[in-house]
Amino acid sequence: MYPEYMQESLKLVEKTRPERLKKSLSGEKVFTPMTDAERGEVLTKFHPDYKADARRKIRIGPNRGENITLEVADLLESHSRINPDDFDLSRVDYDTDVLVIGGGGGGAGAALLARENGAKVIIATKLRIGDANSMMSQGGIQASVNPNDSPAIHYLDALGGGHFDNKPDLVRALVMDAPLVIKWLEELGVMFDKDSNGNMVTMLGGGCSRKRMHSARDYTGAAIMRVLRDEVKNHPEDIQVIEFSPAIELLMDEGGQVAGAILYNLETEEYIMVRAKSTIIATGGFGRLHIKEFATTNHYGATADGLVLGYRAGANLLYMDSVQYHPTGAVYPEQILGFLITEKVRTMGAQPVNKFGELFVFPLEPRDVESSSFIRECTERGKGIITHTGRVGIWLDSPLIELINGEGAIQKQLPAMYRQYNRFDIDITKEPMLVFPTLHYQNGGLEINDQCETKIPNLYAAGEVSGGVHGRNRLMGNSVLDYNVFGRRAGIAAALNAKEVKLGKLTLKHIKRYERELQEADIHTDKISPMLLPNYTTPEVRARQLTAHYEGTLR
């Protein structure tokens, strides 16, 4: 139940619903999609990336002089957690062929494929294996499987969605591997939604011209991640998982090759070494940086650690000026602020409407365009709904879903969404959801080629931490696909590389060099990165934690 002060607006939504439903059922477009010029205008005027203070020049490292997202620049212009001189490089705690940093979907897929290609693997992960954005993805995974679709059409959609900035070789890999990934996942036992003929149920995602969204109810990411995790755990002799141990720096050798990483045991507070012939960064994205103070859909551990590791070792960043805000984050109730409302809700026919119940945008524009138009509706046009805590949102008219797809469609195909709201006594089959854009995805990242190689020898990256495949805006369902396609590719490439590599004497000179660069650029900061975990303790409590920095005694 929504509070009394929202009831008037809710009545208007109900009033306009029959007419909107009629149009939706007629098969014609419910709203005219934007032209290139219209997209450009709404983006430059309302997308948070275009705000004057959204970006700044980074002063050190391989991308020096480039404009990147402010919070990322601050994170990269920070000190290492350790003084390299304090670390004993003669003691190798673990020795392996392939080190995978990150235990999400990309990391798990990489480990499985590296193993298949003969490598011994270690997965080092900050929290538990499977604690990742991969687990939280709801709506689906794209793959051109239907007869009226093709990898070429998928390519067209992905590039248009990314504003034509995507790296072509990466998009080719993405769309060509997609059907193979679906097959691989099904053989591992992922249960996709199917029709009575056994073909996949597919839906239309934002910015897509064909129905190619495959789903597993609205637990798609969980369905995949649970299976990948289970399979990783089936091979303890080849894949060792070290949990609660984030990597905090890469190791290198005298020849300038990456040679593993230093891990930090979050519980014993020890720093330990993994020497590896190939290293894959699969640490995911940066939602917990709360860029421009946005709430986020992201996992607790999404703190951009991999960007820091890779950048300090000399890897390039690509499109780190671009942030994805998912159009539909929850605004009410307050307890679920910023939570993801899957795009599948719009895919199944729900429409975004303003406080007067008016549909104001094509419901399935690419995400940045859709988000920007929501922001325009709430700011310039002043047609948002304001909550008692001063937040603003627009309605996502979910009851349409059952009117279009029949009674029970929501509980059957959107059980997570139904459950989420039901916990707070809102029945989304009867009442709409109040939404506003929420920080969702890191469009850019470490630059890779279609074999997931960075420009540093022995260093690979896959999934959200990498940049290029989505250009400056990712489409729905292409991230689940991304971590599967490139996780697998990274695993194969890393395993093959490990067969050839000879590592030299280990060194942390690159950390010293980076520290020197900070000094030379006259950067004075107390900040240390990677940040590992956000701190949501209140400032009052923090002010009383007087001895949090103590050594040699209980803190």
Partner: protein
């Protein structure tokens, strides 16, 4: 848009974190309350949206003898709640090669024989923060109905609360993931579309078209993009 900042006007309530009293804002989730109290969580915190199962929590309220369960990120605090998290549970996970298994009851008899010790007490179902019919899916497996077990357990987030409460020491969520994998691999009907697309890709049917796209100048490609027809919803 800061994360879950409690409103400054929020009324404060008392609760007990592992027996120790703290004042926290009314309306907080348990996770929000832990952080408000000053904990920086390492274990017992994951996706924060109810999908990962990292924050299983048991609690009681003072006026009730009953043990209650919930996810810390999804459960709103109550006055005088006594709570503790169960961030890890030592659960039995069998090792298997899915390719070698049969989708039948004998697989479960062999791999997870304790499944058949179920005493139908329904404690697992009561403990499930997803409100799944946990006992029913275990019973379905005991009858050999893998499809039903897969369906009923589909929304499982593997938080471990069922296993923690089970007197028969069944690890329901690991049994269930095997059931779903067997269903997905062997029992679900397979369509034709995927196989024919894979064949086309293998035969390089799309290589040329994509190669052309890759080398097209930006403006011509843009034209092509905006001219594409969009399939009806």
């Amino acid at each position: 848009m800061e994360e879950k900042t409690p409103s400054p006007k929020a009324k404060m309530i008392s609760l007990y974190i592992m027996g120790k009293r703290y004042e926290v804002p009314e309306g907080s989730t348990i996770m929000g309350a832990l952080e408000y109290a000053g904990y920086q969580l390492k274990r017992g915190c994951g996706c924060r949206e109810g999908f990962c199962g990292a924050c299983a929590t048991v609690y009681r309220t003072t006026d009730d003898y009953k043990i209650k369960t919930g996810l810390a990120c999804q459960t709103v605090v109550e006055p005088n709640m006594y709570l503790a998290q169960i961030p890890f549970f030592p659960a039995n996970k069998a090792l298997y090669d899915l390719d070698e298994l049969e989708p039948s009851i004998s697989t479960f008899q062999e791999i997870y024989p304790e499944t058949f010790r179920c005493v139908s007490c329904n404690t697992c179902t009561k403990a499930c923060p997803q409100d799944l019919e946990v006992m029913d899916y275990i019973q379905a497996l005991i009858r050999g109905d893998i499809a039903q077990a897969a369906d009923l357990s589909f929304d499982c987030i593997m938080c471990g609360l069922c296993a923690a409460r089970c007197p028969a020491e069944i690890v329901q969520y690991n049994v269930a993931v095997l059931a779903r994998r067997l269903y997905g691999k062997y029992l679900s009907k397979k369509g034709e579309y995927l196989e024919s697309r894979l064949k086309e890709i293998k035969e390089h049917k799309y290589d040329k078209e994509i190669e052309e796209f890759m080398h097209m100048d930006r403006e011509s490609f843009k034209k092509k993009y905006y001219a594409r027809d969009i399939e009806k919803m």
